[in-house]
Symmetry: C2
Subunit: 156 residues, 2 copies
Amino acid sequence: MRLSKKGEYAVRALVEIGFEAHLRPGALIQISTVAQRTNIPEKFLEQILLALRNGGVLRSKRGVEGGYSLAKPAEQITLGEVIRLLDGPLAPIPCVSLTAYERCSCPDEESCGLHIAMKQVRDALAGILDSYQLSRLIGEVRKHRSTKTTEWQFDI
Amino acid sequence: MRLSKKGEYAVRALVEIGFEAHLRPGALIQISTVAQRTNIPEKFLEQILLALRNGGVLRSKRGVEGGYSLAKPAEQITLGEVIRLLDGPLAPIPCVSLTAYERCSCPDEESCGLHIAMKQVRDALAGILDSYQLSRLIGEVRKHRSTKTTEWQFDI
DNA sequence: GAATTCTCGACCAACCAGATCGAGTATGCA
DNA sequence: TGCATACTCGATCTGGTTGGTCGAGAATTC
């Protein structure tokens, strides 16, 4: 039931990017900067941000003064969306997945105990992750970092 | 967020063994029989049942007329226990695991958004799986199979 | 046109999942 | 005792995934 490094890094990077967006609205932030601040291997992070971009979570600009920024408000980005983008479906087994359903070997799904249990798990997982907004994570970090730099604390 | 084949097979096999226990209380059932009925590769199933035995879920007897049976009542066996035995901790990342905690790279866990979110996921997962009894799964199967053979239907 | 920064495909080592094999050991029975 | 039955257990194999790196290319700005 593990979250991959990709998934983990994606969330951490997004928090960093979202945090920056809050400090300097509209600004772009470079891969290298994010990599430094989060301690994620730069070239690996590159792949991750690209996936997020292709998934519509980030927006990018090339060339001098280029970089990444959120493609939509942090309230509209959920952990579920991000994790699915990098780790695939949330469902523990394919036969209970809505997005990537695949028939399993049991003779009858309706009466398969495992199926019923895993459906519950999938629903719980989706329930939590799909309603967990990026803005919430950022808020958490802000609360913490604000003990050092308080100047932008008022405006949220 | 996948459940491994081992975990899946373990549950399916336990349902079969538990079902048998209900039909013929106290009886033993052989690996080969379970393998046939569940369509799980026999030698692979062997490993799984062994792990379940070492984990205290199954009891075994060698030699002629040997086999496996539940080591305790089906009400006392939970999906959580079984899955942990074969797939390890339920927690999506080690830094929120109670049973296999490991510090992660973030500077402060209390203020790490990912940490907070994943803790919720872990709790939800454990909440569902640790209260899901094997007997419930068996009941489900009984309900279904009883449409064909009804003779033992009364006694539960 | 040169510096910067994202894009993208190829590559790689390590690890793990899923599965198989074969020898070993305990047990019951003739 | 000897043999058949079944679990035990370590070794091995294959392919795929994970986590990560490299290098050339394309867009953008100055």
